[in-house]
Symmetry: C2
Subunit: 529 residues, 2 copies
């Protein structure tokens, strides 16, 4: 099994190349007014002061648990900006006491029994890709904290080709589960930036959204049933294509972010692997016209597989459009029928709003086209964080959703207020862009990216000030604090304002019964005493 | 406002005609071996013994509440078979003490405050169409029970034509809300058999499913946000096109069947009114081949608006196919583009499996065709219950959902065991049929209908025995106890087996915080002490 880096995104052998670093410096130096960056070196293991474990697992669990120094360091942080800064600062002051690797569901039960009995925080760990401090150890005094890494629960257990569904373990990562499904001609096709690292159970726990821009977007809509190990026992829903029998048990677990238990397996719907494909990129001089075109396509009932919008700031920066046009990426796919007619109809919607389409030909053309250049950037983007942070560049993305009627004002205000916050905190104009990751008939999911030069000795304070400003704006204007990044500990202050107080009360009520000792991922979503 | 009948489906002026009664007798007499039915007369108001109200509302609520005899009788029962039998038996022994008609949300809050303070059961009443004893007064000793009829909260409060959404009050009935949406070119298009009577809030509370056979089927997927008055206060979620911020608050309320509070309003997505339409009926000699064709269409990603299957027993009985062929009703609709190509592709799926298609022409042809004959039957069917019950004919439908891999065995076993139960209880072969009301990519929602001659002095006992047998079979084979009829009090024994025990614990935990006195629709979904 590949080894995670002790800091940053991905595995040991996977970082930015020297060429990439050079190109990024050449681009961002002039942009941020920096002549020659000084990069803080990556942390090395021997630089880290690590607190001794506060607890010792019982003998029966010793074989599942490790207090290996490197393992504890790797499991201290996810991939949030604050995680990244702390790692560069050699601050690993709140590591897990132990890292546990359950091999079976019984192992998970035994681990939770231990934690519940001893008042130890149990923090589920999927791929360690949380950008919202969702898999960190909780702050504050407590008996101990264990990071439960589910990477050995990684199997596709059953494939039902008739119903197009599979039973998959919670720790299965994207590439592995797709490899197991491929011989059956099936695919979950739930692709997001963290696809290579993040896990099926993590997707469910955080309500992730994937490849599809419309209809079957959120993992929520793909799930037939979930099996969750809670401190109170196993909760398993019935596998069904649809039901109206009371509130959905699955919808309580979806988005629970490890606060109720650990998802050991679930049945998910699958797609037949597409064999027909039609794709185009559509350029718009005006961003709001492009947004109107996205709305028209989303409301036409055509259900494109991909329907994204990238604004001029982002296309210019990524090289997709040096002129800074807005770019729509539009794709139809099917395992059943040719989809050119669908693309024709969608492009009519775009033409009505001034969009200039470049229809893509074969795979070769696609990879080389504007959309292809943007896609390459998309896949490498998570690695950029370590480049930026090492050089004192504040960098973050935040994603939301809003209905169409409010979108133009919402977008304009978020852009204005985010830019103002960046200027106020750093004294300079930062980079700021917006894309749509998903488009619903009733509204888009806008995704904002910002970067600006910070002060290396105050990165977290500066970041927190800008983050608070943008989250306050989004909250005030009626957006959601997160569309698919999850709440974690980062978004708690605004999540607490957004979700109904009585829902928090009800959720705490439910949690009292499933997790009576309050050991599951403390600090995420709700506080319990 | 039209006046409900004191017994049976719908309004006073809407019953079966003398011609319909005669035709039904002519059909069912020979079928059930009865030569001349004796019909129990409908109950009249003066025949009913009604317990005196056990409580008195405070003066501040007196104007909202009535103990009018007729009102209390009307609100004693919904439209289940057991309701119908009890009404024919002149048994109104558990009526509401009062019927309340809140005119505003503040009225709803005040009513729940009264009930919570006095330990009075509060039972929300939408259109009174529950077929699962969901709006009856709870059994057992208690201080009192109030039926809260939401018919005055019937407004469309706001229409957002840009996002295609509307904010609608919980008591709005289908025809009225559609009439308000029509001038905007929009429609909820959530049509079910009870459409004329049932309410928007009731649809949400029971997770109803409507017109669409695929994709946007369940009301669940249409809702942007919900406002619920609970005994603990108002819970309102944020209006969003999509979100990943923790578990969905709305999904806790959907399916709560009045046990957490009263839905006073919600934002719902809408559809543009369709202008393009293509429809066909497809005949199959073999039911399982027809089911395969439904699966092929559901998995092709074509998203028909209607994709139903009616078995030979039902087509023969309804007159849609005297030869008893299985009939698929297939419709594509769009506000945006012609849909003939979609129908062509779907009919190819059907032809591959031996289906013989009759493509429908204009509206005239449609109404007269096989599918049209079946649709007329579908709309009148709820009125048949009073015909049957009055003549001692046991009659019921039960609906479920199951994945495709299990469907053929499931169907065969349910048909065999239901037939056996009917024979065992009544000593005769009954009528038994199956249709699909909805088709998901991973499985159908089969809907079974049965009718057989019972003994007028033992209808409920006979019914309960057959109901228990069919529900046990469905439960044992992995189906859901209800796809869209709801749980109510009727389905409790099997719902309790189906839903995870820990979910019941969690739900009770949530309910403790929202409804601390346990006054909301007691006996539905969970028991609380």
């Amino acid at each position: 099994m590949a080894t995670y880096k002790i800091q940053g995104w991905g595995y040991e052998e996977e970082s930015l190349t020297a060429d990439e670093n050079r190109d990024l410096e050449a681009f961002w130096g002039p942009h941020l007014g920096v002549d020659g960056f000084e990069a803080t070196p990556f942390v090395t293991l021997d630089e880290i002061d690590l607190r001794a474990p506060r607890v010792t697992p019982p003998a029966s669990l010793a074989a599942l648990c490790t207090d290996d120094r490197r393992e504890r360091v790797v499991h201290t942080y996810g991939c949030s900006f604050r995680d990244n800064v702390r790692a560069f600062a050699r601050d690993f002051s709140n590591p897990p006491d132990w890292v546990a690797y359950p091999k079976t569901e019984d192992d998970v039960r035994a681990l939770l029994d231990w934690c519940a009995g001893a008042g130890i925080a149990a923090v589920p760990y999927g791929g360690g890709t949380s950008v919202v401090d969702g898999a960190n150890m909780p702050a504050g005094e407590r008996a101990g904290a264990v990071s439960i890494d589910l990477q050995h629960l990684d199997r596709v257990l059953e494939v039902d080709t008739t119903s197009r569904a599979a039973r998959i373990q919670g720790g299965a990562k994207g590439p592995a589960l797709e490899a197991e499904l491929k011989p059956h001609g099936l695919s979950l096709r739930h692709y997001m930036q963290s696809f290579a690292l993040s896990t099926f159970g993590g997707w469910i726990a955080t309500r992730s959204s994937g490849h599809f821009a419309t209809v079957y977007t959120h993992i929520d809509d793909m799930i037939e049933s979930i099996r969750t190990v809670t401190p109170a026992g196993v909760m398993e829903s019935r596998r069904l294509p649809g039901s109206g029998a009371g509130p959905s048990p699955d919808r309580l677990v979806m988005g629970s972010e490890g606060t109720l238990g650990i998802i050991t397996e679930a049945w998910t719907r699958l797609h037949a692997r597409p064999v027909h494909r039609a794709s185009a990129s559509v350029r718009f001089a005006d961003f709001y016209k492009a947004a109107e075109a996205i709305r028209a396509v989303a409301q036409a009932g055509l259900y494109p597989a991909n329907c994204r919008l990238i604004d001029g700031n982002e296309t210019r920066m990524s090289g997709a459009s040096p002129e800074g046009e807005s770019l729509m990426v539009l794709t139809f796919e099917s395992a059943h029928h040719a989809v050119d007619h669908w693309l024709d109809l969608a492009l009519e919607c775009c033409a009505d709003l001034g969009g200039i389409a470049e229809r893509e030909g074969d795979e070769e053309t696609r990879r080389g086209g504007q959309a292809g250049r943007w896609r390459d950037y998309f896949i490498r983007a998570p690695y950029y964080r370590e480049f930026f942070t090492a050089r004192g560049i504040l960098n973050e993305t935040f994603e939301t959703a809003i209905t169409w009627d409010r979108f133009p004002d919402f977008h304009a205000t978020v852009m204005t207020e985010a830019a103002a916050a960046i200027r106020e905190v750093t004294g300079m104009d930062g980079f700021l862009s917006c894309r749509f990751t998903h488009a619903y008939p009733d509204g888009p999911a806008p995704y904002f990216t910002w970067r600006t030069l910070g002060r290396k000795d105050a990165l977290i304070e500066q970041y927190d000030a800008i983050k608070a400003a943008t989250a306050e704006t989004v909250n005030r204007l009626g957006g959601t604090v997160t569309h698919h990044h999850a709440v974690g500990r980062l978004h708690r202050p605004w999540y607490d304002k957004q979700r109904p107080d009585l829902f928090a009360a009800a959720y705490r009520g439910a949690k009292r019964d499933l997790d009576p000792q309050g050991i599951m991922n403390p600090g995420v979503l709700v506080d319990v005493e």
